[in-house]
């Protein structure tokens, strides 16, 4: 995948992630207690889910981008 596409994909991911961790995404989709996920209230589990998703997204970006080469910053 070309470097430019990877950069844009990361940008889109980060934007969606930020929107889901604050208003409006968090307020619309996840500002509730139930259902409980692995014992955690839904809003808590939602936040933890985004931490894990971000970890995976950054790993994928880093590996893919290292293969393509070119300036990242």
């Amino acid at each position: 995948m070309p470097a430019r596409v990877l950069d844009v994909l990361l940008g889109i991911y980060l934007f969606v992630c930020a929107a889901c961790l604050v208003w409006p995404g968090f307020a619309w989709f996840a500002a509730r207690e139930e259902p409980f996920v692995l014992g955690l209230p839904f809003a808590f589990a939602w936040s933890v889910g985004w931490v894990i998703a971000t970890f995976l997204a950054l790993c994928a970006y880093h590996v893919a981008r290292s293969r393509v080469g070119g300036s990242r910053a």
């Binding site: 980060l14 604050v22 500002a31 936040s47």
Partner: protein, 493 residues
């Protein structure tokens, strides 16, 4: 409570930290780059823990459960900003590292001041950093003292506890510089992670029969408490605008905290910096058990007076074996020390490098500079200790005023690394406008036109002044700036 066991474990822990901190001192060179930036040779493991453990301070260890306990869903704010806060460093860090290698920078402010040939910028940033870091360090000392006093049943009082712990920190930071900080933080980071997860799973089981039953009971007895955006410190609903703006301001400022940013100059190579950022969210999961511990206190019949005291309170009231109390005590000391050592080291480096060498244009030879940093380090620790034991007001409040303005470094740092048209006068104007606006709205919340974080107003004023003044003024040394930006954008490894 068996005080001897608690003291024994805490003592053993402190002794190990001293040993771990003293050993690397022999390895680094005798220069400022050796003492401040570890000869630019830090590998991935140390970088990971030095960034992770530095952020997780005594304030996080005691304050985060305090938020969960008193403000419910608002505490999720900590997970939100930590998830994304370090991501910009993936792009900022390698650029800064290239410049550091080429020009010999070890602090953030000297990098900004160098591009624009303006020592005044270094002076402004150094002053704000010191004003923020001294109360921060004092708070870490108080944290260490409070934990030791509570856990030993008063056998070690708060002042003596803080003195003991920070005397020790002083010894290994004096001896080993950033390498001492790095290796102790690695040891302390592993310890904190293990302890937080162990306690976070153990205590809810003892008190409620598990994490699931605990949250179900809280949801049943305090409906809505677990939902974001939660409550303010005073117990009234926290609006989404405050929640959202607090998260966004923290994300904007996170990567430019001077003590964190400086670590870009310490890394072995650019790949190490990028990998550290990629791995960082895994450290963030540390917040999960810490918040669970805070929630475990919500339904307790006898609540502590201060929300920050919920964790020690739980330990003392939940019939926990003395060995665990000792380990918890060591964990809290780890949190205090792993932030305190990095802050003390950064403050001394900033005073000498930015406040003296760069701002006053008085270069020192390598040996004198290293000696000066050590002398200032002793002074910084002494002043912070004085503040910790003598100041009777709320340090947290003092910190809020002092720490807020640091976020205002963000536009200056971003512009320095990425914006060709930025000028020195523009950056200086932005800094001053941002810091003044931030302080005005942080100390007079009623003046804010909308319920959003004071930092948002500061950043708006900062950006406006930076852009306008930059467009109206010209570069002072265009050739120098062109070379600076070309170096920062060179293809890296």
């Amino acid at each position: 409570m068996n005080t001897a066991i608690v003291l024994g474990i805490a003592g053993l822990y402190l002794g190990t930290c001293l040993l771990v901190g003293m050993l690397p001192g022999r390895k680094s060179s005798d220069s400022a780059a050796g003492y401040v930036a570890g000869d630019r040779a830090l590998g991935l493991v140390v970088m990971y823990f030095i960034t992770g453990a530095t952020i997780f301070s005594a304030y996080a260890f005691l304050g985060a459960p305090g938020w969960a306990f008193s403000r419910g869903g608002a505490a999720l704010y900590m997970l939100a900003y930590g998830t994304l806060g370090f991501v910009p460093f993936y792009f900022l860090g390698p650029r800064a590292a290239r410049l550091g290698k080429r020009y010999g920078f070890v602090t953030q402010a000297e990098m900004v001041a160098h591009r624009f040939s303006r020592p005044g910028i270094a002076a402004t940033m150094a002053l704000i950093s010191v004003l923020a870091f001294v109360p921060y360090l004092a708070l870490q000392m108080q944290g260490a003292g409070i934990v030791l006093e509570a856990m030993t049943g008063g056998a070690v009082d708060e002042k003596l506890g803080a003195l003991l712990v920070y005397g020790l920190v002083l010894v290994y930071v004096l001896k080993s510089g950033v390498l001492g900080v790095g290796w102790t933080n690695t040891f302390q980071g592993v310890f904190m992670l293990a302890l937080a997860w162990g306690m976070g799973l153990y205590l809810p089981r003892v008190l409620y029969g598990g994490i699931g039953p605990m949250f179900e009971r809280i949801a049943a007895e305090r409906p809505g408490f677990l939902k974001p955006p939660g409550l303010t410190g005073g117990g009234t609903p926290w609006p989404w605008s405050e929640y959202t703006s607090s998260v966004l301001v923290s994300i904007a400022g996170f990567s430019v905290f001077p003590h964190l940013f400086m670590k870009a100059f310490s890394a072995r190579d650019e790949r190490t910096i990028r990998r550290t950022v990629v791995l960082y969210p895994s450290f963030q999961l540390f917040v999960v058990p810490i918040l669970i511990l805070g929630f475990a206190g919500v339904l307790l019949a006898n609540a502590p007076e201060r929300a920050d005291g919920i964790l020690p309170h739980l330990m003392m009231n939940a019939d926990v074996p003395p060995v665990l109390v000792g380990l918890f005590c060591a964990g809290a000391l780890a949190a205090s020390m792993s932030s305190g050592d990095a802050i003390a080291h950064a403050t001394a480096s900033i005073v000498v490098r930015d406040g003296w060498v760069t701002a006053l244009r008085r270069p020192l030879d390598a040996a004198t500079e290293r000696l000066a940093i050590r002398i200032v380090l002793v002074a910084v620790v002494a002043v912070s200790y004085g503040l910790a034991v003598l100041y009777t007001g709320s340090l947290v409040e003092l910190l809020l005023y002092a720490y807020g303005p640091i976020v205002q470094f963000a536009p200056a740092v971003y512009a320095t690394l990425f914006w060709r048209r930025a000028t020195g006068r523009g950056v200086q104007a932005g800094l001053i406008a941002g810091i003044a606006t931030n302080i005005l709205f942080a100390s007079n919340a009623d003046l804010r036109p909308f319920d959003v974080h004071a930092g948002v107003y500061g950043l708006a004023a900062n950006l406006t002044a930076l852009v306008l003044v930059s467009l109206l003024t010209s570069h002072e040394d265009e050739e120098r700036e062109r070379e600076f930006l070309a170096t920062s954008a060179e293809p890296g490894d």
